[in-house]
Amino acid sequence: MSDKKKTILDYLNESMVWKSIFRSGVPRTRRQRMYAVLGNVFLHLHPARLPRHAVKVGYTWCMGGLSFFLFVVLTITGILLMFYYRPTVEYAFTDIIDLGEQVPLGIMREIHRWGAHSMVLTTWLHMLRVFMTGSYKPPREFNWAVGVILMTLTLLLSFTGYLLPWDQLAIWAVTVGSNMARATPFLGHEGPGASLLAIGDVNLVHSGSDVRFALLGGRFVGEATLLRFYVLHCIAVPFIAMIFMAVHFWRIRKDGGISGPL
């Protein structure tokens, strides 16, 4: 070894800085390879070793990983878009036009939108695969439930984002979607039982106090709705989704890693 000329990589590997960050050198040996996974906070999502079928794309379809990856992509592009987008009725629509017309790499909007659609699909397919392999069965039953919630959150994320361009497509899709909330039993002003919630002439559930109002911030889709959906889309729902994702990933490991025949 000593007579072999040291490469730049070797110098790098031996430098104090490199060692302080990665601890081990280029993972060449089995031990080093396992250490590379164990010692890295991101790779540590995975175990060091896996059953063989877990690396077969035919078995996993890679849809869970892609869903997470898309979440990351959407977070990054979303943060970028937030620099140029103002969630107000005056500016929202024109800011979107500008993303297409003058903002450098305004294509981030396309990546964000198509990424969002893709993410809905990948979560669905992930669910389909988990069902087909029966991987929801014990001990993974709780993680399946978490997964269902994550899928719902994905749909909510996509739905709240749908309003933000503030065009006809957006406002009416959200109007149609949110109109269902007014039919919530007891809590929506056009839901069964809502009219029973009245004391004398005081009507407790009406268009200004029902669940739809809480969602929209107004009696109809307007300025307040745009802001609410913006906050939900950018902060609230991703925040909840991240909590559930952490549980989901952690439980994969704790429930014995990827499923397989016993």
Binding site: A198, I199, G200, D201, V202, N203, L204, V205, H206, G208, S209
Partner: protein, 1026 residues
């Protein structure tokens, strides 16, 4: 292990449980506190109080209302009960009918359903058939392209037959449905008929008791004790904390006023006024006498109410009152106390404190009018805006806007006369004394005092000022002074001069008024530097201001000589081309008589005052002081040494004029291009308080309006206790304003602000022709209202003349009255319209054609009429109306007073009235009709009687035709047609139009002596004689 319980434990679990319980309870308490804190709103207190008050007021009204209906209520109630009994008697019939109806409805329900369902199917067939037709056309085109023609026109359509046959069935179903429907309707009609009498009585009763019912309903909503139990519970529940979003009774009221902007510097956002959260009765006249904050607005006719011109929806509250619109508490809405006492009271009552970091605190009530200026800039005299109008009038008359640039209220004329050719008018001694102490000559002059003020009354300053005055005077007379020329050719009969002075119109702008008094200063919030020469007796108002357009002429005889006075009144613009004094077209005789009268007005005391004197050393000192400002000391001294004494005087004169800004109000040679010296006041009203220098004065409130008041009351006060070089002393002169003037001017200054409004709120933008406002401003600055009542204001000369009959005419409805082209020619060359007046319309030779057009536009704007050209009124003398009009004219004996061309009226000169031959050129026929209908309505106090118009009753009496003539009888008392006929007749009168010469000759020979008020009683008798 033995000690199982304590395995691997450190803390005692019971202890931890206790801690946990305690911290959870604390957590719970803090959460509860948070809710309570959130619910603890000041406005809710007020709303609760208001609810009580509202229910009390409604209760009293209800009692009143019940009292009112007491007598007749029973009648209606009885009638209703009667019908009710009758109706109840039918109950068996009704029951069987209702049963029938239910059955019939069932049948109809089904047949209708059948019909509707089949109709939908037929409609679908129709669509399919249509689609088929479209499809076949499409195919035809296709085939034609291929050169293939489909010969077979009677193509078979699959849906055609289906559609057509379905129509037949549909029609059958329709017939069945209609038959069933008719049965239902018939039964319903029968039931309705049975009820109809009852319904009528019910409606009558309800109509009669409408107010009572409304009030009862209102009280039921307001007074919890009057509610049903369910409603009582609901009423409590709705306002409970946390669920008070469901349907709260107590809530923040707000109004988004899009046209009123709040400036957040980067943008302007609509104002959001929450004032009505507490000021709940503001738009309700019922709360006129309620305590604050519930009092209704004192001027609901002008503001707030939806019928007023400033509706709440469009203007909100803060557009006028300013303040922190979004505030929901007394303090946070930035109320501003109007006085120190109020401030103390508020601190006591509301824990009031000034809201820092808020640039637009509420205006104290006395200054609210300032906000009128936000929108009414170009037309500042508005109803309810008297104080602002006075303030603005004072600003232009005193010349504030000469020294201070005000973008929105620019100066139109110099406040003072030109000083460019004083050598033709005055001598140096008079000028120097005048500069030093103008009020010593004329106690109510507009010329302010620069000297003998707080910061320049020390002996050194008096000495310095003497030299400055000397230098200024010398500067103003480069070519020697005026030689007094009291040649007799300028001096006529002073007695007839005095009469003329009173009669011809001088008093419209000037007065000769010696009475004055000490100012009794009540307790003022500021320190007033009083004049030692006394003040006018009268309180200053807009109306008073009209009299002070020109100088008070006391002492004029001591100021100048016969030659100058004569020339001046004969033709003012010869001496001063830009003067606003008009030409009264005085003859030589008239002018010399008036000159003689004016020369008798002397001020002997002024002549005895000491003159300024030349003090070389002081003069050099002053010059050095100024030189040092521009040059190094040595260089300055050298320059001074090189100057001759005359040059030094000239230098000091220049510097002093510059320093005091004399040139801003007066034209002075050598200062043609100099800029105003005062601070710009365009946005003074919203200038942050910290940019106002309060100096060492702490006795006044720390807010902008107090500073303005103090500055106006004693302009030099902020130099007090400061060490300042003479050249840096504050120099704003003292106008010796009275407290009411200070208040008015402060109002105006607060109106000069940077508030933002949508362009559709600015009055100027609401008018097509901007010249209108030029017209308004000309009317104001040339004091037209000194003589005429315009827009219900003015005509002060009538007070001097004594009788409004002989005063210049009231110009209300002027825009509708005269034909614009005639009015224009009249302005250019006035002729005699009213032969019995001695006061004359002057020639405003300084007016351009544009100016006159603007004035005409302004008149038209006042009356919402804007036609520049109108068709000639053509008269058909053959119509019945015309003939009837002729007859009416005969009966009316118009020729008693009116001229017909040169045909003199029958009665004496005292009742002479305008030339009727002039009518067709001068007046608009529509106006004439209205005028004849009721002259008093248009010109209150006019001697013109309304022509007698026979009513149809009178005309239908037998033999009326003989008395009134066939034509009048034909009109059968139609007032409109009769007036039109009369008007037509007037437009047919021929004759000379301009009778000025004739009238002048007449009075020259016969004298003019009936304008004393004593005759009025006789004339009234005469009025009734008619």
């Amino acid at each position: 292990m033995k000690h199982n319980n304590n395995d691997e434990r450190y803390w005692n679990i019971n202890l931890l449980n206790k801690w946990f319980a305690v911290s959870s309870i604390l957590f719970l308490i803090s959460i509860g506190w948070m809710f309570l804190h959130d619910n603890d709103d000041e406005f809710k207190e007020y709303q609760r109080e208001f609810r009580k008050l509202g229910s009390q007021i409604a209760q009293t009204k209800l009692l009143e209302e019940l009292d009112k209906v007491k007598d007749e209520r029973d009648i209606y109630q009885k009638a209703y009960d009667n019908e009710k009994n009758k109706y109840d008697a039918y109950s068996d019939d009704l029951d069987s009918l209702n049963n029938l109806l239910v059955e019939a409805k069932g049948v109809f329900y089904k047949s209708n359903m059948d019909y509707l369902f089949f109709k939908a199917e037929a409609d679908e067939k129709k669509y399919l058939y249509e689609a088929e037709i479209v499809h076949s056309h499409h195919n035809d085109e296709h085939h034609e392209k291929d050169g293939y023609h489909n010969e077979d026109k009677s193509k078979s359509f699959k849906y055609k037959d289906q559609y057509e046959s379905s129509l037949i069935i549909l029609n059958e179903l329709k017939l069945i449905k209609e038959k069933d429907e008719k049965v239902v309707n018939d039964i319903e009609t029968v039931i309705k008929n049975l009820r109809s009498d009852l319904k009528i009585e019910e409606d009558e009763l309800n109509k009669y008791l409408k107010q009572v019912n409304l009030l009862e309903m209102k009280i039921q909503k307001l007074d919890r004790s009057k509610m049903s139990i369910a409603n009582q519970i609901g009423d409590i529940v709705r306002d409970l904390p946390i669920i008070d979003f469901l349907d709260p009774y107590y809530k923040v009221n707000q109004l988004v006023v899009n046209d009123v902007k709040y400036d957040v510097n980067f943008a302007s956002v609509p104002s959001v006024d929450r004032c009505t959260s507490c000021h709940l009765g503001i738009d309700n006249p019922d709360f006129e006498n309620a305590p604050q904050p519930f009092t209704s607005h004192p001027r609901l006719d002008l503001y707030v109410s939806s019928s007023s011109s400033h509706t709440m929806d469009q203007f909100g509250c803060t557009s006028c009152h300013a303040g922190r619109a979004r505030g929901t508490t007394f303090v946070s809405s930035s109320h501003t106390p109007g006085s120190k006492e109020q401030e103390e009271e508020w601190k006591e009552k509301y824990e009031w404190e000034k809201i820092h970091h808020w640039l637009q605190p509420m205006l104290p009530t006395k200054y609210t009018q300032a906000s009128c200026f936000n929108c009414h800039q170009s037309q500042p005299i508005v109803e309810g805006g008297d104080k602002l109008a006075l303030g603005l009038g004072l600003i232009s008359t005193s010349g504030c806007n000469n020294c201070h640039h005000i973008e929105t209220y620019e100066k139109e004329n110099n406040a003072g006369p030109p000083l460019t050719n004083l050598d033709k008018k005055l001598n140096k001694e008079w000028v120097a004394k005048w500069i030093k102490d103008p009020q010593s000559f004329r106690y109510n002059t507009w010329m302010p005092h620069f000297f003998e003020q707080e910061n320049n009354s020390s002996p050194e300053m008096i000495k310095r000022n003497n030299s400055e005055i000397y230098a200024i005077t010398e500067y103003l007379f480069p070519n020697g002074e005026h030689k007094m020329n009291n040649s007799s050719k300028y001096i006529g009969n002073y007695e007839s001069g005095e009469k003329l002075f009173n009669a011809v119109g001088c008093m419209a702008c000037h007065q000769v008024k010696e009475e004055k008094s000490e100012l009794i200063a009540e307790e003022l919030p500021y320190e007033l530097y009083k004049s030692k020469f006394g003040y006018e007796n009268e309180e200053m108002t807009r109306y008073e201001l009209l009299k002070n357009q020109g100088p008070n002429l006391i002492g004029i005889g001591s100021k100048s000589d016969a030659e100058w006075i004569y020339n001046w009144i004969k033709n003012p613009s010869e001496y001063y081309p830009d003067t606003r004094m008009p030409d009264l077209r005085l003859s030589h005789e008239e002018a010399s008589d008036i000159t003689a009268y004016l020369l008798t007005l002397k001020n002997e005391e002024f002549s005895k005052l000491p003159n300024s004197y030349y003090d070389e050393e002081e003069m050099n000192n002053i010059a050095r002081g100024w030189l040092v400002k521009g040059f190094a000391e040595q260089e300055a001294n050298e320059k001074l040494d090189n100057m001759s004494p005359e040059e030094v005087i000239h230098y000091v004169g220049t510097k002093s004029i510059n320093f005091y800004g004399c040139y801003t109000c007066h034209d002075i040679n050598g200062f043609e291009d100099a800029k105003p010296i005062g601070a710009e006041l365009t946005h003074e009203g919203t200038k942050p308080v910290n940019t106002l220098d309060f100096g060492h004065i702490h006795s006044i409130g720390h807010n902008n309006y107090s500073w303005f008041e103090q500055k106006l009351a004693n302009p030099r006060i902020f130099d007090r206790d400061k060490i300042v070089a003479p050249e840096d002393k504050s120099r704003m002169p003292n106008f010796y304003f009275k407290p009411e003037e200070i208040e008015a001017i402060t109002t105006a200054i607060l109106g000069f602000n940077s508030n933002k409004f949508s362009s559709n709120m600015i009055v100027e933008n609401l008018v097509d022709d901007k010249n209108v406002f030029k017209g308004y401003s000309l009317i104001q600055s040339y004091n037209c209202q000194g003589c005429h009542i315009i827009d219900d204001f003015g005509g002060q000369i009538a007070d001097v003349i004594g009788s409004s009959e002989y005063a210049p005419p009231n110009l209300n409805t002027q825009g509708l009255k005269t034909q614009p082209d005639w009015l224009f020619s009249f302005f250019k060359k006035p002729i005699t319209i009213r032969p019995n007046l001695q006061v004359r319309m002057p020639s405003f030779t300084m007016f351009s054609d544009d100016d006159w057009n603007s004035v005409i536009k302004a008149f038209q704007h006042m009356d919402n009429h804007s036609l520049s050209f109108e068709g000639t009124h053509l008269v058909d003398s053959k119509t019945t109306e015309f003939k009837a009009g002729e007859k009416l004219h005969e009966f009316g004996a118009c020729n008693n007073c009116h001229f017909y061309g040169e045909v003199k009226p029958i009665q004496g000169a005292a009742t002479w009235a305008p030339n009727l031959a002039l009518t067709k050129e001068r007046l608009r026929p529509e106006w004439v009709v209205e005028w004849l209908r009721d002259p008093q309505k248009i010109m209150p106090g006019t001697k013109m009687p309304a022509p007698y118009l026979p009513t149809s009753d009178i005309l239908s009496v037998d033999g009326a035709e003989e008395t009134w003539g066939k034509d009048l009888v034909d009109l059968n008392g139609d007032t409109d047609l009769m007036l039109k006929g009369l008007t037509d007749y007037l437009y047919n009168i021929e004759g000379k139009i301009d009778i000025s010469d004739y009238v002048r000759e007449y009075f020259k020979t016969n004298g003019y002596d009936f304008n004393s008020g004593d005759d009025e009683d006789d004339e009234d008798d005469w009025d009734e004689d008619w």
